[in-house]
Symmetry: C2
Subunit: 299 residues, 2 copies
DNA sequence: ATAATAGTGTCTTTCAGACAGTATAGT
DNA sequence: ACTATACTGTCTGAAAGACACTATTAT
């Protein structure tokens, strides 16, 4: 095969030697990391269980563009590392954790995403057990902080057209911690015309969130909410041992809705293994501790 | 915000004027298109219905690297077009169709994907109604041809480890048309260790398929098989009017398995509208024609 | 009449949702 | 005793799977 010659009479070796990649303008490529974890809030009283919140790691931009705003951790993909390697490197830099759940989500390629130059960004989602984190990534040199995330649907609008419909949804994205509150509104337009379906995502409003990152966050949360229902990824957010109530809280805080205990336990029963240990000093009946049961999910 | 200055004392305007993107080595970015359609085979006799086959558009490479092999249609993303625009442009160039279903799948970023230079490629899947295609894209200047695709699981291997398991699957990918037969074997390794799940995709063998495109095709078929179960994307492969048997055949050829008629009809009943027309001259009982019913799917 | 497809009815099993009930440590 | 949580049983209706049966055209 490599002895074949092309129209210019070059074999592969000669062709590659003559190839000049710099002839064309190339975009820059970055990875953006969505690093989620779930942490406990303060206990309200000695009897109540602590509430859980979903958190996302963000970084305060120290330089233009979007200086002072909060952005997803990430950075340029080096010429000698794969996309996955770049994502792992960023993850390690930010959280100092190696062996962790990570999944590619989507690549964002609008021309004017970034004022500096043409930048295409591939987003990755990562789920971290907060107990393995400790203080790291909050006292980093760069201003990395965990934000409580919430993403709520607050407006829905359907228009029926001749050959289909247009369906608009507005999501309110709110991130907060002790010092900062940032937010955005993301509009998702699904249009069906004949057989053709299109989905558009647009930032309506963005307060303190850099670039188009509000869109990326909303997309990731949507994916997380979906995927939690038919995979076992939620266990990446749990510590080694956990109670079923804690597991349920994690599902509830991600889905942003309450679940019925009996039904939840039925649904996840195959994914956990009972241990002989129990919680202690809870101010009420102790709870059995479980661990993850790695197994094939219907494959 | 744009009046803020950074550590070098520059405001945003000054910063952007001084920004030199060419300082860093940048990868090239391409889009690869997976254009699927479903066509009829020849009727076996006057009574039998024609069988349906899933087809994928491929292009014979006329230059290095991989000269003579078959590759997915695609090309470089221009500096002034978005990823989606680049995909739409390629689609238009290859099929001459504009308004069509298209979805981003995944970005492939291994360092040595291409011998020329570092190339990151984002793959898009598109589904086309074959009746709207006619002869186009088969007599194009470049060697574009439709291949019958099949992707079959033919080996499965599970190893249980201390803290989880390793699950390997081998898929045989076969593409063929009158003149050519190309194929590949793709290995998918899912490893679960403790809570950490990893999925790797590797090309074991590739005969006549350029670059890492066998991997990309296998991924797309997997996604298509999944998505057909909970969305209405299959209708993009149908003409305006169709029989329920035709629709079922499309599902069957994608899923590569037979479905029960009564159950299938129950499942898709909400997505179709009855018309008053019937098929004719079929050699057996005529069939009612249906059309797509655009509607919200549980949203 | 026959071959081949068109189309429908219904039984069973599985699963999701809802709710009601009992159990138990810590103060 | 009381509070807050732990844990289980069961009813319901919806959906998925399996199968059997009837209907209708061109030749």
């Amino acid at each position: 095969m490599d002895k074949m010659i092309n129209k210019q009479g070059l074999n592969e070796e000669q062709f590659l030697a003559a190839y000049d990649a710099s002839k064309y303008d190339r975009p820059s490529v970055t990875v953006d990391m969505l690093i989620f974890t779930v942490t406990n809030e303060e206990k309200k009283n000695y009897r109540k269980l602590p509430e859980k919140v979903l958190r996302l790691l963000m970084i305060k931009r120290g330089d233009h563009p979007c200086i002072g705003q909060w952005a997803l951790p990430g950075g340029f993909v080096e010429i000698d590392e794969s996309l996955d390697e770049a994502a792992l490197r960023e993850l390690k830099e930010e959280t100092n954790i190696d062996n962790i759940y990570m999944e590619q989500l989507y690549s964002w390629g609008d021309v004017d995403r970034d004022l500096r130059t043409r930048i295409i960004s591939t987003s990755y989602m990562s789920l971290v057990d907060s107990s393995s984190l400790d203080v790291k990534a909050s006292d980093d040199a760069d201003d990395a902080k965990w934000f409580t995330v919430s993403c709520k649907l607050y407006q829905e609008h359907k228009t029926v057209t001749e050959k289909g419909y247009i369906f608009e949804r507005l999501y309110k994205l709110s991130l907060s911690n002790q010092e900062d509150e940032i937010s955005a509104v993301v509009k998702i337009v699904k249009s069906v015309e004949g057989k053709i379906t299109k989905i558009q995502r647009e930032i309506i409003e963005s307060n303190g969130i850099a670039f188009d990152h509000a869109k990326i966050i909303q997309y990731a949360i949507e994916r997380l909410r979906n995927k939690i229902g038919y995979t076992d990824i939620a266990f990446n957010l749990m510590s080694e041992l956990f109670t079923l109530t804690e597991l349920q809280q994690v599902y509830e805080v991600i889905l942003d809705k309450e679940l019925l205990k009996a039904n939840f336990r039925r649904k996840i029963s195959d994914m956990v293994i009972e241990t002989n240990e129990y919680t202690k000093d809870a101010g009420h009946r102790p709870s059995k501790l479980f661990k993850f049961n790695p197994q094939l999910l219907g494959e």
